[in-house]
């Protein structure tokens, strides 16, 4: 009897996988999956400095014990709920970027995620997401994309704002319902223009996604919302073989706004996150796309180093994030951990890397476009990609 996993790899060969994989080595075939941890994920309890004496002092009831954490080295370990990510770490397909933030940190959820989405300075307001700027910087000309981005769920487009992107929950339903839209020239006031632009995006995306109904993956996806968003992502990627494809996905998970009673909430959210990310890898491997996919987590900020008295944490600044994928130089930390003994005036961590370094690296190394217009300046790249 053939076990299921073997059957899958046989099934995988039914696609003209080799030719496609070679074609996809270029930027145009690559996929970026952005996973937004909404509400501000507590970095210190995600990638835990378990060996640092200040950690337990700052968090009398929230600190995770040294024997609970999944140790990655002598200083840092993962929250136990993240166990499903350990195989990726061991296969060196997951790297941890430490201390991501930006100067003059803004502690408002809404403003700070806007800064991350638009890659602006803390003091400037931009309308376009950084992915839209990468499109204008040349990514748009590299392929005929089905649509420039897909946000799964009713989430805002985030970094895709300003690109020709769509949001959807279920790819098949999306294609069916697109018949309610008729082509029209974009015209009228800003509100009508917006409606018409969304309509034309729907028509284009539905054209590209049509005929994907047949894609069924054997991978099992978690039933929670994040797991189902992962399923839709894998379905679309699997169905795009040989077509222009969808270069960017935006998924969200949370809320990580754990002002009180953090321990249980956070454990649960991280468990769902890790289950979802493990299923994402399995689905993309099955779709033959893991090598050409880069998965990145991000959040508007980390949380206060010192816990509050409600068993939670208030808004903070720098935080670690994960990059995953077949092309990641993983199994290691990139950058350095913010110093727990040297907090800023609000008792927050001081960032050790700028989030725009992450974006600049994606622009240059993943997409082969000039990062300067994407992040509006020159930032040192981070060494987390093999390509």
């Amino acid at each position: 009897m053939i076990d299921r996993r073997q059957l899958l790899s046989l099934g995988g060969l039914a696609f003209p996988a080799l030719g496609w994989a070679q074609a996809a080595a270029s930027a145009a075939g690559r996929v970026l999956v952005l996973v937004e941890l909404k509400g501000g994920n507590d970095g210190l309890n995600t990638v835990v400095p378990y060996a640092h004496p200040a950690y337990a002092q700052l968090r009398p009831s929230l600190a995770l014990k040294a024997d609970e954490v999944l140790r990655l080295d002598g200083a840092l370990g993962l929250h136990p709920s993240l166990a499903p990510l350990i195989p990726m770490w061991e296969k060196r397909e997951l790297a941890v970027l430490l201390g991501l933030g930006y100067p003059q940190p803004n502690l408002s959820h809404f403003r700070s995620i806007e800064i991350w989405d638009t890659a602006s300075r803390a003091t400037e307001y931009l309308d376009e997401g950084w992915v839209a700027r990468a499109m204008s910087a040349g990514l748009r000309d590299s392929a005929r994309f089905t649509t420039e981005g897909v946000a799964i769920g009713s989430a805002s487009l985030g970094a895709l704002t300003g690109a020709n992107a769509v949001s959807l929950t279920n790819p098949e339903a999306f294609v069916t319902q697109a018949r309610l839209v008729r082509p029209a020239a974009v015209q009228g006031n800003a509100a009508l223009e917006h409606v018409l632009r969304v309509e034309s995006g729907v028509l284009q995306a539905a054209d590209g996604l049509r005929g994907q109904g047949a894609v069924t993956l054997a991978t099992e996806f978690p039933s929670h919302n994040f797991g189902q968003a992962v399923r839709a992502t894998c379905q679309i990627v699997a169905g795009q073989k040989g077509k222009g494809g969808v270069p960017v996905f935006h998924l969200t998970h949370g809320s990580f706004d754990t002002h009180r009673g953090q321990l249980g909430t956070h454990a649960n959210l991280l468990k769902q996150l890790a289950e979802g990310l493990a299923a994402l890898k399995a689905g993309l491997v099955e779709a033959g796309a893991w090598e050409r996919t880069l998965v990145v987590t991000y959040s508007e900020f980390g949380r206060r180093a010192r816990q509050n008295q409600s068993g939670g944490t208030d808004h903070g600044t720098a935080a670690p994030h994960f990059v995953m994928g077949g092309a990641v130089r993983g199994g290691r930390f990139i950058g350095s951990m913010p110093d727990l003994d040297r907090l800023d005036g609000n008792q927050n961590l001081v960032h050790t890397a700028d989030f725009r370094q992450l974006y600049a690296t994606i622009a240059r190394r993943w997409w082969g476009v000039n990062p300067e217009p994407v992040v509006r300046g020159s930032f040192d790249l981070l060494p987390f990609l093999e390509v």
């Binding site: 009228g188 009508l192 917006h194 509050n308």
Partner: protein, 462 residues
């Protein structure tokens, strides 16, 4: 000085005023306002809204003894049952309110209550007490057109808000900044009008409030309150919660911030600084009278300017309720409306976060736009084939009552006949805030004509 204010309201003017201040009006509703002077019309709207009372009693659960907190439930089964009850209660409450919106003769009262629900956004998802959401709803409803200052002070000690923004966890020896930050950023001043130190000081001023969950009341516990001196927004004193709120209201940014929000809700996407500033001053001078600010706004040049017609986007609640009002349609079951608005991104009592629903163009994504179109399409298909399901997942579908003949006749049209040119113009004016993008194909009969117009991109605008 040239004025854009009409001397007397035309059909288009009346439709604009009623559409912006309520939910889309029916042709019969519009007719009752044609010929009034703008100030007569606005005063009539405001006095009606001030006197408004709900037509139906709120769901029975709002009058039952306060339900114990979910976490007080002993075992897993009891907790599950309590959670199911919470969901059912929330749906019942939202359905009751949506039906009020559908039937109210004073829709501005509902719109303003909804405006404050969005401004002081609080979600049952964290509060986990549907009766408490109703208590807050009554507070918002009571002050909807009254004193903003009283409303703000009331919200600051509303148990649902104390739970939602962790005010109930803020003690002298354990400050929690959540409410302190959001009250300045989102409720009074706006982002950038305060510093991180102001948040810390305000959090001290707000310390000491708790929620008695058995009675669902706020209680002040003096021993948990930080009585020390604080420096807030440049002022020094032993501020308590009320004093801190008044320090915030003394900032010039406060009236401007609120008027800016009213402007974007009712007039246009981008407030005119000078005009909004003048309204803000009147708002402040009137002792924070919301009806005064609204009257100034609705009688401003900007509100009536031709360039500002059809420049806003209907919220899901406006789209759903407005469509029913506009066509004088009744659904057999208001709970269907809860599902419809939720799928389109607006579940009452469950805003996405403390900033509320972002609104305007954010209402329209490919997901929500397709859902909005599906709603009107199914509505008219259901009329063409009675007993068809409108609300997905509703048992046996939802009955739709619409007397197409009765509705079309005053406009000179019939359900099964193609309208003539004059009737076509009247239909467009009744259904859309501006000209349709797509011409309706020749040979389309009255009822299908309405469906076609409701699917036009212009139907999303108000």
């Amino acid at each position: 000085m040239s004025t854009t204010l009409p001397a007397r309201l035309s059909v288009a003017d009346a439709r604009h005023l009623l559409g912006r201040t309520g939910f889309m009006p029916s042709p019969a509703e519009v007719a009752a306002w044609v010929g009034l002077a703008p100030d007569e019309a606005v005063d009539r709207l405001l006095s009606g809204a001030r006197r408004a009372q709900p037509r139906q009693p709120a769901p029975a659960f709002t009058r039952e003894p306060i339900r114990p907190p979910l976490r007080a439930q002993g075992d897993v089964e009891a907790r599950k049952e309590a959670l199911r009850q919470l969901r059912a209660d929330t749906v019942a409450l939202a359905a009751w309110w949506l039906q009020e919106m559908r039937d109210s003769p004073t829709p501005l009262a509902e719109r303003m209550t909804l405006f404050w629900h969005n401004h002081f956004a609080t979600s049952v998802q964290k509060v986990r007490q549907a009766q408490g959401m109703y208590v807050q709803h009554q507070l918002l409803r009571y002050h909807a057109l009254g004193s903003f200052r009283e409303l703000l002070h009331g919200v600051a000690r509303d148990p649902a808000m104390l739970v939602y923004l962790d005010g109930a966890a803020n003690r002298a020896d354990a400050p929690n900044e959540n409410f302190a930050r959001e009250v300045m950023e989102l409720f009074t001043l706006g982002e950038g009008q305060y510093g991180e130190q102001d948040i810390k000081e305000a959090a001290r001023a707000f310390s000491g409030w708790a929620v008695d969950r058995d009675a669902w009341t706020a209680r002040f516990r003096p021993r948990q309150h930080d009585r020390g001196e604080k420096t807030l927004l440049g002022r020094r004193g032993r501020f308590d919660a009320d004093a801190a709120l008044d320090v915030m209201l003394d900032q010039p940014a406060a009236p401007r911030f609120i008027v800016g929000k009213l402007w974007r809700e009712f007039a246009s996407p981008v407030p005119d600084a000078a005009a909004a500033g003048a309204i803000a001053q009147r708002f402040r001078e009137s002792g924070w009278r919301i009806d005064t600010a609204l009257r100034e706004l609705l009688l401003s040049e900007a509100f009536w300017a031709p360039a500002h017609r059809a420049v806003l986007i209907k919220s899901p609640v406006e789209l759903a309720v407005g469509t029913l009002r506009q066509f004088e349609i009744q659904l057999d079951n208001a709970e269907a409306l809860v599902g419809i608005t939720s799928r389109q991104g607006q579940m009452l009592f469950r805003p996405p976060n403390v900033k509320g629903w972002p609104g305007y163009t954010e209402w329209i994504t490919s997901t929500t736009l397709l859902d909005r179109k599906r709603f009107t399409e199914r509505l008219f298909r259901a009329v063409e084939q009675p007993r068809m399901e409108v609300g997905r997942g509703m048992q046996g579908g939802v009955g739709v009552r619409f007397d197409a003949e009765q509705w079309l006749k005053p406009l000179g049209a019939w359900p099964d006949r193609e309208p003539d040119a004059a009737a076509r113009d009247r239909l467009v004016e009744a259904v859309l805030a501006t000209a349709p993008v797509h011409p309706v194909p020749a040979g389309t009969v009255g009822l299908s004509y309405l469906r076609a117009l409701s699917l036009d991109p212009a139907f999303q605008l108000k």
